[in-house]
């Protein structure tokens, strides 16, 4: 097993991973308990969003506190009452779904998630005059019906995302995932925030601002997987990681049923093309590690 501080890539969670190594057996047990707990609470409609019907499993015990899984038509989400953001959003994208989504353009409404206790959820007012976008984890552009689109505007699916990330590079990564679904007919996607470092920024005394964003993709046609990672900041730099590398860094098992040999090998992910390559000189650039912010 490679350590996260391996010279090949920069890992966001060095301190955490050291802790995880020490707590290995405890974490294993927690993961098992969580997996059992999640399966029991999981409504049947949720399973379509996951590879082999198995939801991501959180392995970092701190991340697992005050969480609630919600199932929607187009995605499932694990919400944290601590960050008041999602920790992951999972979707199954097909070519047909993307075609349906493309034809459905309408007016929509951001809204607080009524299914969550008021103390645990973000409200629209938390984001007011924050300078941050309400960044979808499961994107509206993937949603094939009016109902699915509306549900994607739940704040349970949103993180405070830097506008220059959300609107340009991240949009390009979302479009790349849709293109993979168009070409290979069928992919599984898990998207989420990463909270790295000893301190975090917070909106309105309530909502934590992630430091990075990831999108993990499994393509059952190619039997290959990988993940994009970008800082939650302006810029066009992104990383690609194997699922094994990502999972060590994010404190969760994103595709629990995926064999270790598939997780170990990084699928060749295409360079994101924001808005069809528009955007002038600033093209996305893949990097081995990010500059410390």
């Amino acid at each position: 097993m490679k350590e996260c501080d391996d010279a090949r890539f920069f890992c966001f969670f060095n301190a955490l991973n050291m802790k995880l190594t020490k707590l290995h057996s405890l974490v294993g047990l927690t993961a098992l308990l969580l997996a059992t707990g999640c399966t029991a609470k999981q409504p049947s409609s949720c399973t379509n969003h996951f590879w082999e019907g198995q939801a991501p499993v959180i392995t970092n015990p701190n991340l697992a506190k005050k969480t609630a899984m919600l199932c929607f038509e187009g995605y499932a989400v694990m919400h944290s009452g601590i960050s008041r953001t999602p920790l992951w959003s999972a979707e199954h994208l097909t070519a047909q779904r993307i075609e349906d989504a493309q034809q459905l353009k309408r007016v929509n409404s951001f809204h607080a998630e009524e299914q969550l206790p008021t103390a645990d959820r973000a409200e629209l007012v938390d984001y007011v005059r924050s300078g941050f976008d309400r960044g979808h984890m499961a994107p509206n552009g993937d949603m094939p019906t009016s109902n699915a689109q509306y549900e994607s505007f739940s704040l349970a699916n949103m993180i405070p995302q830097h506008p220059k990330n959300n609107q340009i590079l991240w949009e390009g990564i979302e479009e790349t995932a849709r293109n993979m679904a168009r070409e290979d007919k069928d992919i599984y996607v898990v998207t989420g925030p990463i909270f790295e470092g000893s301190n975090l920024e917070r909106l309105n005394g309530r909502v934590l601002v992630p430091t990075f964003v990831f999108k993990a993709i499994y393509d059952p046609v190619r039997k290959q997987a990988a993940a994009y990672v970008t800082p939650n900041a302006p810029g066009m730099a992104y990383q690609t990681l194997s699922i094994a590398e990502l999972e060590k860094c994010v404190g969760m098992n994103v595709f629990p049923k995926l064999p270790a040999e598939i997780k170990a090998v990084k699928m060749n992910l295409p360079a994101p093309r924001p808005h069809g390559g528009r955007g002038g000189k600033n093209k996305p650039v893949e990097v081995d590690s990010f500059e410390r912010q």
């Binding site: 007011v128 005059r129 470092g197 808005h275």
Partner: protein, 83 residues
């Protein structure tokens, strides 16, 4: 579309082709791309875009106390609860 009153809420999101328009209290966020093709859909998109921009300009022009720059609410820093 006529219900899009700029700077009045934090809820509304409109799609014009691949362009997104979001209503916020302190800003209108417009991003993405739109093809104004020389056909019926091009005219429809152009009108939708014009309607939004006209409404934005009207509100801004009527505001007698328009600041040089909008003021953001400061964030605070907390210990990472997940580390």
């Amino acid at each position: 579309m006529s219900s899009f009153t700029p700077y009045q809420n934090e809820e509304q999101s409109l799609a014009i082709d691949d362009m997104t328009v979001e209503n916020r209290l302190d800003r209108i966020t417009v991003y993405g791309s739109v093809e104004l093709t020389r056909d019926q859909s091009g005219l429809q998109h152009a009108r939708a875009l014009k309607e939004v921009i006209d409404a934005v300009v009207a509100v801004l022009e009527q505001d007698k106390n328009l600041p040089a720059q909008v003021e953001l609410k400061p964030t605070d820093q907390v210990k990472n609860p997940f580390a």
